[in-house]
Amino acid sequence: MALTDPTGAATQPSRRRALTRRRARSVAGTVLSLALTLLGLLLVTFVIGRVMPIDPVLKVVGDRATQAQYDAAYIAMGLDQPLIVQFLSYVGDVLRGDFGRSISTGQPVAQDIARVFPATFELAALGTFIGVAIGVPLGVIAAARRGGIIDQIARVVALVGYSMPIFWLGLMGLLVFYGMLGWVGGPGRQGILYDGMVPNVTGMILVDSLLARDWAAFRDAFSHIILPASLLGYYSLAYISRMTRSFMLEQLSAEYITTARVKGLSERAVIWGHAFRNIAIPLVTVIALSFGSLLEGSVLTEIIFSWPGLGSYITRGLLSGDMNAVLGGTVVVGVCFVLLNLFSDILYRFLDPRST
């Protein structure tokens, strides 16, 4: 999925004013509204699950079940209860940390998520890292030499990133870099030799293999993750470089920059020391948003790269009526999103010099 910018950050001034207002609100208010958002999220997901014409009972009992077997499963799954009772008992379970059992894996949803979430997190984190490592300098340079060749290149790179269907790029990348050149590992997270060789600590194989100081396993995991992560990184790069450029342009046209130039500071110092420092906070927000959208938006990448992550877990659950899996997955994505928002809010509140 192409990255979209869910807060409308395109209009910075107005956005900042909204954030100033928000800054004024008490932490308690923020927490309350977060809780409400999450509850609403649960409710929407729950309702979707119940109006979906996909029958979870059939998934459990299968094609050949008799009507009696079907009815027995229907009651065992509590579907004969009124909707509101089902919802309340679900929320009660969630509050106690019980996300129920997935009907398509037969395992507790919490256990499933503990397995699939690190996979997605690892992929999104590396993707964001690539996006930041290339996108930020690119955006800064493009803004500093506006209209120059780097600016033009950055623009084309970003527009191509916005315009490319990811599933197609993924398939092509797999064909070229794995099939033809053999530079990277194939679909999946690990080569078969290394599977299960590294003790599972975080669930992120790169981290786990580092912890175990198993360089061969790290190398193997890296060779598998680099292609899908680069792909996600490209999308993140396209977005981050554009936003960086736009923030920088705004700063560079500000008076204090002119003053700094007049004082005879080197261009390098003006750009990195003054302008860049001032865009750090909005930039962090953009990066957090981009990270959030990679967490939720990597479904197609996961499918193409046989990556056993959260996106494909939720999608598969959705298509088989496995609502416990979908609810659990959505809550996790929602919590991440909300936490990222909270994180950038707090940054604004405590770090923005103008807020004091």
Partner: protein
């Protein structure tokens, strides 16, 4: 500053990744299989009814009788039971069990375990239970009908069924023998260990379940104490790879030994690659077209007849289903007792048009639902195109398998295109669903029967013949009975078998004795070897 640091990190990282790494081949004692295994819901043999789940259980459990993976055509063979005897009246079968078998837990396998396993399956009454309950077992009577005494086990039947019918059913996954003590130690709330066994294993088979990560991987390790000798492959890893192109790349690169879901074009290309070969194996699944008799247009005999000539059998099996399906126009799969080899229908637009014109049918529109699998959608689209040529409009809605199945069981799919896989290795498995429907009313809710789902009112004599065939003791006479049923079926039934599935397995050179389970069973790994 950050800029420089990160550049260096990136360069370092890409150097790591891009240096010409030699990805080693799979280890010599490990078999790595790529397969779509996201359909596993439960690994409890009393419950598992999906292909991938049965693939696992077939290797972790033993049954009383079983197939020889090196000679599957020989039919069921002694396994845990060394011999069996049918009583004079045909109402009971007594099995003698081996006494040298131990479960993976170390517990000895006794006749009591075998009897309890069957009783348990009947009492749990999960979806596949009908394979056993069709012999008259119920939760109430099964403790008396299935008994163990020393090293023998006796089944008491409600009617004198053909022994081959009973024994074929005992090769099914649901008849797997589980370790009673281990399972009961994990019982929760009187569930007979169902929850525990759904994700664990308590068998005596050639492999032990080492790990199952849903939608990701199944790992099996060899059981060194296996009574038929420890298998040569010490580790079997089945990875979930859903894209055919990904499976193909993995196979070509030598990262896997076996690829089980290759599309026809990928098969064609992979066959030309050095170090890889393709093995064809007919499976039991029949792709058929069900014409719902609730639909006014489709219940017209002329339309039924015309539809049989609107399928481009040769074109389809010569193009997008090439190598993966063969034209097969009867409901019993090749490899089953009594299968009919006649193929009465050909693709003939003119003939279809003539039939419709003679019956005074001008045209019509049908909207149907098709499962979103490439094969089915492509078949549906070719059908759509040829129907258009005779004035029939077909609208296709693609949906997930669950949605189509839901509608199908509610008798709401006008033209069903999909596959049916046999549940056990006896012809009754398909006859009892295609050609048996004692009560066609909505209230009967015989949702498990294909004939009912298509609202096909099976003629009384066909219903009776289907039942009679299960009681015929003589094998040749039984085969003849099934042939008669199939002929009548071809002549009039609105359910039209079209193709039979061929599994094309991509194998790295050196992999020998691979068997996917043919038309009758599931995959077996214990006989597989890898040269050099």
């Amino acid at each position: 500053m950050t800029f420089h640091l990160t550049t260096r990190a990136l360069l370092l990282a890409s150097a790591l990744a891009l240096s010409p790494a030699a990805w080693a081949e799979t280890p010599a004692d490990t078999l790595v299989v790529a397969h779509t295994i996201d359909d596993i819901i439960s690994l409890d043999p009393a419950q598992s009814f999906e292909f991938a789940g049965n693939d696992v259980n077939n290797n972790t459990y033993d049954r009383l009788v079983d197939f020889d993976p090196l000679d599957p055509d020989a039919g069921f063979q002694p396994s845990l039971a060394t011999a069996w005897e049918v009583s004079e009246d045909g109402l009971s079968i007594t099995f003698t069990l081996r006494e040298d078998v131990t479960f993976h837990s170390g517990n000895p396998l006794r006749a009591a375990d075998a009897a309890w396993s069957l009783q348990r399956a009947v009492k749990l009454d999960k979806t596949p239970a009908f394979i056993l309950t069709q012999f008259g077992f119920t939760a109430d009577n099964v403790d008396q009908m299935i008994t163990a005494d020393g090293n023998t086990l006796t089944l008491t039947l409600d009617q004198p069924y053909a022994p081959s019918f009973v024994l074929n059913c005992l090769t099914a996954n649901i008849a797997s023998v589980v370790d009673m003590e281990t399972v009961m130690a994990n019982e929760v709330d009187g569930d007979l260990g169902n929850a525990w066994l759904s994700t664990n294993e308590a068998g005596s088979g050639a492999y032990v379940l080492a790990a199952w990560r849903p939608n990701e991987q199944v790992q099996l390790t060899a059981y060194e104490e296996y009574w038929q000798g420890a298998p040569e492959m010490k580790r079997v890893i089945v990875r979930n790879v859903s894209e055919s192109s990904a499976q193909r790349l993995l196979l070509e690169q030598g990262d896997i030994d076996v690829a089980r879901n290759l599309t026809p074009t990928d098969v064609e290309s992979v066959a030309a690659v050095e170090g890889v070969s393709v093995q064809d194996e007919p499976r039991g699944r029949i792709l058929y077209m069900g014409l719902n008799q609730k639909d006014e247009l489709l219940s017209n005999p002329a339309v039924i007849e015309a539809m049989k000539h609107l399928v481009d059998y040769e074109g389809i099996t010569g193009s997008f289903l090439k190598g993966q399906f063969v034209t097969h126009q009867t409901f019993l799969p090749l490899g089953y007792l009594g299968v009919l080899e006649e193929q009465p229908w050909t693709y003939d637009i003119e003939k279809a048009r003539q039939i419709l014109t003679d019956a005074g049918i001008e045209g019509g529109t049908i909207t149907t639902r098709v499962r979103d699998l490439r094969e089915y959608i492509d078949v549906a689209q070719t059908l759509q195109a040829s129907m258009a040529q005779v004035g029939l409009t077909l609208n296709i809605e693609q949906m997930t398998g669950a949605q189509v199945l839901d509608a199908y069981r509610a008798r709401e799919v006008p033209i069903f295109l999909g596959e049916w896989g046999p549940d056990y290795s006896d012809p009754n498995t398909n006859a009892a669903t295609f050609a048996f429907n004692p009560d066609n009313s909505d209230e009967a809710a015989a949702v498990g029967l294909l004939a009912w789902r298509n609202a096909y009112e099976v003629p009384a004599e066909m219903n009776e013949a289907t039942v009679a065939a299960t009681l015929e003791q003589d094998a040749d006479a039984r085969a003849a009975l099934y042939q008669d049923i199939q002929r009548q079926y071809q002549a009039e039934a609105p359910i039209v078998p079209l193709f039979q599935r061929i599994e094309q397995v991509g194998l790295r050179d050196g992999v020998q004795n691979w068997w996917s389970g043919g038309a009758i069973s599931s995959v077996m790994y214990r006989q597989v070897t890898k040269g050099e």
